[in-house]
């Protein structure tokens, strides 16, 4: 992964595009129909899930299947606290709770190598789901909970704010020495430890920071469903989607996961309404195809074409 090849020379054009997109996003709900606002909110949600996954798993190569756990924890925080506290506090609480969970999980498990970490995080989602189910059936004798309703535009703006903060955080982490340290952990963990990086602490903290955004997203998105239960909140699909979107988009560039998430969120919207049964089937096919043929994602493909063009130019000056 050529993460180091982020150049600051070409920042000008992306900066302008980004600025225009931000202004557009800010005024979008004032003019667009409600349906499109909801759709864009869903896209934002997937971008946040994917980008937060990439912050940690992109450079280190640890495949975390925990996003569904953090997302679900956020949803449940919102369901439990939603009636008592105001929205901003609930959202912060969602982030905080999943931060704590990630800190705990990270401290316990980030010594596990590779695949065991993936299974552990996947087991975590199921464990929380099972415990919650048991709690609801045997102790509170209720199945599921109702969530307070919030207007579509409020959800939209909160998601936009979370997205903006996340993008800035991700960019800062990526450009800082911590980003480089994460990358060297991904290349060779022992070598990274020998150069003086406190690998366990760094991994745990970054993992937990990335969980904040997922938890906060869960807390706000919970208000979109009026009713939640453990199966809805801890749907393992929310763990796989970010992985797929990141791989599909390509993690070599900062904007890769954003592109991947946007395309997929849109695809989901289209496929789920037209082919509800075959949606997951197509999902699986795309997953396999992108692993086989797009190891560096769409961005990698674009770069290859670009390099091809450059090589041609060199041949015929």
């Amino acid at each position: 992964m050529d993460i180091t090849k982020v150049t600051s020379k070409r920042l000008f054009l992306p900066g302008i595009i980004f600025f225009f997109l931000a202004v557009l996003a800010l005024f979008y709900p004032l003019y667009a129909p409600a349906y499109y606002v909801i759709q864009l909110t869903a896209i934002f949600m997937y971008i946040v899930l994917t980008m937060s996954w990439v912050i940690f798993s992109g450079p280190t190569g640890y495949i975390s299947l925990a996003p569904a756990a953090f997302f679900g924890v956020g949803i449940y925080t919102s369901a439990v606290l939603g009636k008592a506290l105001s929205l901003p506090i609930v959202i912060c609480a969602g982030g905080l709770v999943s931060f704590c969970l990630a800190l705990l999980v990270g401290a316990l498990t980030l010594r596990l190598r590779g695949i065991y970490f993936a299974i552990f995080t996947f087991g975590l989602v199921e464990l929380i789901k099972q415990l919650l189910l048991y709690w609801e059936i045997n102790i509170t004798h209720t199945r599921g909970r109702f969530v307070i309703l919030v207007s579509n535009n409020t959800i939209y703006y909160v998601m936009l704010a979370i997205l903006a903060i996340l993008l800035i955080t991700a960019y800062i982490i990526r450009r800082s020495k911590y980003g480089l340290a994460l990358q060297s952990i991904g290349e060779d963990e022992e070598a990274a430890a020998h150069t003086g990086i406190n690998i366990t602490a760094l991994k745990t903290v970054i993992f937990a920071v990335s969980a904040i955004f997922i938890g906060a997203t869960g807390a706000i998105m919970a208000t979109r469903w009026t009713y939640i239960d453990p199966y809805i909140a801890f749907n393992p699909l929310f763990s796989f989607m970010p992985v797929l979107m990141a791989i599909f988009g390509g993690m070599g560039q900062f904007y890769g996961p954003i592109i991947g998430a946007t395309i997929f969120a849109y695809l989901e919207e289209v496929l789920i309404t037209r082919f509800p049964y075959y949606y997951m089937l197509i999902f699986g096919l795309i997953l396999i195809i992108s692993i086989l043929f797009l190891p560096n994602g769409l961005v990698g493909l674009l770069q290859k074409w670009r390099k091809g063009d450059l090589a041609k130019q060199d041949e015929n000056p």
Partner: protein
């Protein structure tokens, strides 16, 4: 009280035999072929549905289906490894990268197989009754089909163990399990052996599917739960160890049976908890090296 204990223990052993069979397949696929096959349970689900279909539509004896489902699963598994996973293995930069990407590809397979099954058979629960009469074991009553299941699970396990220990191909598989690159240098056709291992793993899953359909209701969503149990058993018993799979399977079966006796709602949670504790305390498993 004694009968109660006997009841719980035998129920655990009966369950454990099935767990061991599923885990043995996964242990081959992950321990030798290095593919953490999350779609393992889907092969089992296919086996279960083929058996159910043959029995309910044509009245084929499930024990005959055993000889159909296993080979079908084997062929699918073998071909999948030859096309998909071999390609991935060659193009992956490192062993670690291959483990990650093959696991994700297996997740893709899971979605594909599961949703094909859902499209064909729907999400309904299916069941048929075969050898459903009771057998008295020291005061505790068990259905005959569950005893037959345990018998076949042990038989298949023993058969495969002998195959690994006594034949030339078995030796090649054991060599590949220890170090596939070196085994390749020693003249083992490594692509073929790994594909065979993957196929054998699928074969076990096919067998297990047939056996499970004899005792329990089946549905198209059942795969993942069994895959996770297989992963836990493999982690418990140690990777690539067939006796380990059996010990792990019986331990998990017993724990499940005890927890179910005390508090039925918590048995799955107990599995996950056990698994996560195990990963933290002893990731190598009981018989792992």
């Amino acid at each position: 009280m004694v009968v109660k204990i006997l009841d719980v223990v035998i129920a655990g052993l009966l369950m454990g035999g099935l767990y061991a069979l599923i885990a043995m397949g996964l242990s081959l696929q992950y321990g030798v072929a290095r593919v953490l096959n999350i779609s393992h349970g889907e092969f089992m689900m296919l086996g279960a549905f083929i058996t159910w279909l043959l029995y309910s539509a044509f009245g084929v004896n499930p024990l005959v289906s055993l000889a159909i489902c296993g080979p079908v699963a084997f062929i699918i598994g073998f071909l999948l490894h030859r096309t998909l996973f071999t390609r991935l293995r060659i193009s992956s930069a490192s062993a670690g990268a291959y483990e990650g990407s093959s696991m994700l590809a297996a997740f893709g397979l899971l979605f594909i197989i599961q949703n094909i099954a859902l499209a064909i058979w729907g999400a309904n629960v299916r069941a048929y009754s075969y050898l459903g009469f009771g057998v008295n074991l020291g005061g505790a009553l068990f259905a005959a089909n569950r005893l037959v299941t345990l018998g076949f699970a042990v038989l298949i396990g023993l058969g495969f163990y002998t195959f690994l220990a006594r034949t030339r191909l078995g030796k090649a598989i054991r060599a590949a399990a220890q170090d596939s690159a070196t085994a390749g240098l020693m003249g083992v056709n490594i692509n073929k052996v790994l594909a065979l291992c993957f196929g054998f793993g699928a074969l076990m899953a096919g067998f297990a599917g047939t056996l499970i359909s004899m005792c329990y209701p089946i549905d198209a969503n059942m795969g993942l739960g069994y895959t996770i149990i297989a992963i836990i058993v493999v982690a418990l018993g140690g990777l690539g160890s067939i006796p380990g799979s059996f010990i792990g399977g019986f331990i998990l079966g017993l724990i499940g049976s005890i927890v179910t006796y005390i508090e039925p709602g918590l048995s799955l949670a107990a599995y996950y908890l056990l698994f996560m504790l195990l990963l933290i305390v002893r990731p190598k498993g009981i018989l792992g090296k």
